[in-house]
């Protein structure tokens, strides 16, 4: 039993080490007493045992303990959840059970908060009957066309499509093509406000186009980032604003960079926001209630929750020099693949 537990638990390793030490020491002592008449060197035998045990202890107890300790420290500092819940060397079976219980609480809590937004959509959907909304918008559009107000007709159409995507479709994962289409639609609505002053460019390698557009990601990943770039970056800029969405595909990842040449952010705010984006997702509750940048944090939390801590958002910005929001996602060419990544993350969290 002790040997079995010693494979994993630090407490069992300490117990095993003490047992080995005691046994070896007695043996060495007996051997020394037996051989001492022939050679005094035999007296060194009991001294070798502590050295051997110290080496074993360093390798099999101290190093795993340091790793666990570091994980717990980082967990306390708000850096990571996943790895702490999945630690290689728990202190004892009791600690492991306690961590398991904490994990259950987290998972439930996070599922509750993740589904909260979904529930908000549902509530919104119930309050505003989507068909009633679409019909009304369609009515406005028809009247506008009849009256020759093409701008109003186009704007109404864009708004209707935007609502249709946001409210009606309750699928969690969508293709990048759909997401880009929604962003372009949203951008069209914003362009009615800003006119030609605002431009958007989507850039990618032509060779990757087919694969890129097939990639699956969380619904409403890009639109909140684009909205943030327009409202906090470009709106306050007097000169022309350019929004660039750069898409890159690697063997395992989809990298999306949303850049604006707007007013940028002060260093302190960038640091603060990045620290929160980097922190474990439950750490961001306080930030949400008192600061801006909620949209980015929400998107980041959803990505981390679904795909794991190695994915998410990072911000590069300098005041007066614009902002780049880098989104790192798993490369999932279809819904099934995306769900497999998500399930992998969930399994890691629940092992």
């Amino acid at each position: 039993m002790l040997l079995h537990h010693a494979k994993r638990y630090i407490s069992a390793r300490i117990a095993l080490l003490c047992t080995v030490f005691a046994g070896l020491f007695i043996l060495a002592l007996l051997a020394a007493l037996y051989w001492v008449q022939k050679s005094y060197i035999a007296l060194l035998l009991p001294l070798c045992v502590p050295v051997l045990c110290a080496l074993l202890g360093y390798e099999y107890v101290y190093k795993p303990y340091k790793e666990t300790e570091k994980l717990l420290t980082l967990f306390a500092a708000g850096y990571t959840v996943e790895d702490t819940l999945d630690m290689r060397y728990p202190l004892s079976p009791g600690t492991e059970a306690a961590v398991g219980r904490i994990r259950d609480i987290f998972v439930n809590r996070e599922f509750i908060s993740a589904s909260k937004r979904q529930a908000q959509y549902l509530a919104l959907q119930n309050q505003i009957n989507p068909h009633f909304l679409y019909n009304t918008l369609e009515g406005i559009r028809s009247d506008a066309i009849v009256a020759g107000a093409q701008d109003i007709a186009d704007m109404t159409e864009a708004l209707s499509t935007f609502f249709r995507y946001t409210i009606s479709n309750l699928e969690n994962l969508v293709s990048l093509e759909e997401e880009l289409h929604n962003v372009e639609n949203y951008f069209r609505i914003q362009q009615y406000r800003f006119g030609e002053r605002l431009q958007m460019r989507v850039e990618f390698d032509e060779g990757d186009k087919q694969e890129l557009l097939r990639c699956h990601l969380l619904k409403l990943t890009l639109q909140p980032i684009v909205e943030n770039a327009i409202i906090h970056g470009l709106e306050q800029k007097l000169a022309d604003g350019l929004l660039r969405i750069r898409l890159e595909l690697t063997v395992t990842r989809l990298l999306i960079t949303v850049s604006d040449n707007g007013v940028g952010m002060p260093e302190q705010k960038v640091d603060e926001l990045n620290a929160h984006l980097n922190a474990a997702y439950f750490e961001t509750a306080k930030w949400q209630s008192s600061h801006g940048g909620i949209a980015l944090i929400n998107v980041n939390n959803r990505i981390k929750l679904l795909f794991g801590e190695e994915y998410g958002i990072y911000i590069y910005s300098v005041e007066g020099e614009g902002k780049d929001v880098r989104v790192t996602l798993p490369r999932a060419l279809d819904d099934i693949e995306a769900r497999r990544v998500a399930e992998g993350t969930a399994r890691r969290g629940s092992v």
């Binding site: 790793e67 570091k70 994980l71 980082l74 850096y79 990571t80 790895d83 290689r88 390698d205 060779g207 990757d208 694969e211 750069r246 890159e248 595909l249 690697t250 063997v251 395992t252 990842r253 990298l255 960079t257 040449n261 260093e267 960038v270 640091d271 990045n274 620290a275 980097n278 190695e310 990072y314 590069y316 910005s317 300098v318 007066g320 020099e321 614009g322 780049d324 880098r326 790192t328």
Partner: protein, 459 residues
């Protein structure tokens, strides 16, 4: 689809409680030339170190070829396929070039070495790349440029996929740099990636696909090729904007003049530097060495004439022209003396009773207080920051007030914030009517600063 060679994800690194790297995210694709513009040096060593060896992290993950090689939970201390090329050589001087390239690598297991075969292989290799270096040449006979080329060949030959080039313009001339860049482009086409570390934005924007801006251990901004925003950052970031207050006296005689000077490494050098003027001479190491020897009065020209403040001389008198050496904070301060004693060190010839008179010393301290600040009263200068040591050296020159000062590579291998500081100090010398001659191997370091730019025929 691009192959991601290197990725650093949310990496934080601490040392003795100080944060060296703070939440750093960086990725480099295969075959990409990535630039790293350093506003200051904080975290640079740690960043390069982590690219080469998997040392412990405070937090974050490092990937090579999309495979996790280092994370905060476990660091294997093993090496990554990355090599650094910098001023310091990593070759064995007493061995030949082909020994360094072919023999000194882990995968070399042959028991009998055919030198002729190895040299022949190296020469074929070098010829293919258009690099005229002989395989049997000893490393200590190579020039800095050749050494860099050999290091690059060696890195590629030993399977390194990421080559970090650090401050090459601080010791290579423009022509040599262009040659290295040609090789970089060639290897980039074969999938080798480069991280080009430099503090000159023009150099980076001309060469790199993307540029990351490093400041205080953080990547502040990423700029794609053609995106000028991030590259204009350093100028905007200069905390003390440099007012152009220089007013050279071009009417009077030049403070320092060389007319048709011949030395072992110079042929017919003619140049004049006027009081208050800053002239940059783009010269190779040995040419710069001769100019310094002439300025120090160590040699006299074989032919031609020198003049100081309009007076011709066969040889300059030692001490009449000041020389500020490369890396002066290491070579030109006396750690056992106080700040004030260091400051007055060159002025004792002008004022013999300087050391005895407390009144004069007090007056000197008062005069230089606006430039040096509280540090001027420091009794122990060993713990002063590097900026303060630079201030001390330039103030020493200003106080000694020579007609001219020759500065050897004043902007090379220093970070951007220190560069701004040194510019301010050189301006201070010019404002005091001292002629400044800057010797540098590359244009990029000086072109934006000097009043005139001269170059020797070799460059």
């Amino acid at each position: 689809m691009r192959e991601e060679l290197f990725r650093m994800e949310r990496v934080s690194c601490l040392e003795n409680g100080a944060t060296l790297l703070n939440n750093v995210n960086l990725h480099i694709f295969s075959g990409e030339i990535m630039g790293l513009l350093c506003i200051n040096d904080v975290g640079l060593e740690a960043l390069i170190g982590l690219m080469c060896v998997n040392t412990p992290l405070h937090f974050g993950r490092v990937y090579f070829f999309e495979r996790l090689v280092n994370d905060y939970k476990h660091s294997g201390l093993d090496e990554n396929p990355a090599a650094v090329i910098e001023r310091r050589s990593r070759l064995v001087d007493s061995l030949t070039v082909s020994d360094n390239v072919f023999v000194l690598r882990g995968s070399f297991h042959e028991h009998i070495i055919s030198r002729r075969e190895m040299d022949r292989r190296f020469e074929a290799y070098a010829r293919e790349l258009g690099v005229p270096i002989a395989g049997d040449c000893y490393v200590d006979q190579l020039s800095a440029h050749e050494r860099c080329v050999v290091e690059m060949l060696r890195a590629v030959n030993t399977g390194k996929r990421l080559i970090i080039l650090r401050d090459l313009s601080s010791f290579l001339g423009d022509r040599e740099l262009a040659e290295i860049q040609r090789l970089m482009a060639r290897y980039a086409g074969r999938g080798v990636s480069f991280l080009y570390v430099c503090s000159h934005e023009k150099e980076l924007s001309a060469l790199c696909d993307r540029v990351a801006v490093l400041e205080n251990g953080k990547i502040q901004k990423l700029a794609e090729r053609g995106g000028q925003a991030a590259l204009s950052l350093p100028r905007r970031r200069a905390r003390e904007p440099r007012p152009l207050t220089r007013e050279p006296d071009w009417q009077g005689p030049p403070a320092l003049s060389f007319s048709g000077v011949d030395t072992p490494n110079l042929r017919g050098l003619s140049l004049s530097v006027y009081p208050g003027e800053c002239v940059a001479l783009i010269a190779q190491e040995e040419e710069a060495g001769d100019v310094i020897s002439l300025a120090l009065g160590e040699i006299q020209p074989r032919r031609g004439a020198l003049s100081l403040a309009g007076k011709q001389a066969r040889r300059l008198i030692a001490g009449s022209v000041a020389v500020i050496d490369e890396k002066p904070e290491r070579r030109m301060v006396f750690p056992d003396l106080s700040y004030l004693d260091n400051l007055c060190f060159w002025a004792d010839k002008r004022m013999p009773c300087l050391w005895r008179s407390r009144r004069i010393l007090r007056s000197v301290a008062q005069e230089y207080y606006p430039v040096a600040g509280e540090s001027i009263y420091a009794a122990d200068i060993r713990y002063l920051p590097i900026k303060e040591l630079y201030t001390l050296i330039y103030c020493r020159v200003a106080f000694a007030h020579p007609k001219a000062v020759v500065c050897l590579k004043p902007f090379d291998a220093i970070d951007l914030s220190l560069r701004q500081h040194v510019m301010g100090l050189i301006d201070m010398l010019c404002e005091r009517g001292i002629a400044v001659l800057i010797l540098s191997p590359s244009v990029s370091a000086t072109s934006f600063f000097a009043d005139r730019l001269l170059t020797t025929p070799k460059n």
